[in-house]
Symmetry: C2
Subunit: 104 residues, 2 copies
């Protein structure tokens, strides 16, 4: 299995009436994933200022195995099932890192 | 001046004939910014797999002052002038963080 990092961007649209509940579930899922999964390197979720129900998430996993393991975790499955009725559009974009740097 | 983090997403399209040169200049600029500027918290640049001349950059600054100082640094000004003829489209999207977590 490739040891290359897997980087992905998700673009979501959320039912505006469910936005507060969605944000809480997403925050919980991100915090659990980075805390509990050794192969989840970073998850960065933002909302577009002029359209706060449009969300983008930049996801960085250590490798393909880490990404596939993430999809089977209880916290991800909870997020996925509890937000299913809130997400009106989901686009997954495969991306390749050019340079990713953060303060230690 | 507000101490709130400033988060921004840039979407760029690069002249495909200049892509290698652009990527080198962007990488140099990102590494210098995170290393030299205390207020640049992270810069994450990726290319879209199916259209590698389409670049997205997620930028996180400590506050508005840090962002404004970044725009005046020699490494940013060098990047800006040297890539000016390579960038065919630039869209800046103001975003607000929901949750941003990374491994320490």
């Amino acid at each position: 299995m490739s040891r290359k990092p897997v980087v992905r961007m998700a673009e979501l649209e959320i039912d505006p009436d469910r936005l507060d509940a969605y944000r809480a579930l997403l925050t919980e899922e991100i915090e659990a994933s980075v805390r509990l999964e050794v192969g989840v390197l970073s998850l960065s979720a933002v909302s577009i200022r002029d359209a706060p129900n449009r969300i983008r998430i930049l996801e960085v996993y250590a490798d393909k195995g880490a990404y596939e393991a993430h999809l089977r975790t209880p916290h991800f499955l909870k997020y996925k099932s509890e937000t299913a009725g809130m997400v009106t559009s989901l686009t997954l974009i495969e991306v390749d890192p050019i340079s990713m740097r953060a303060k230690p």
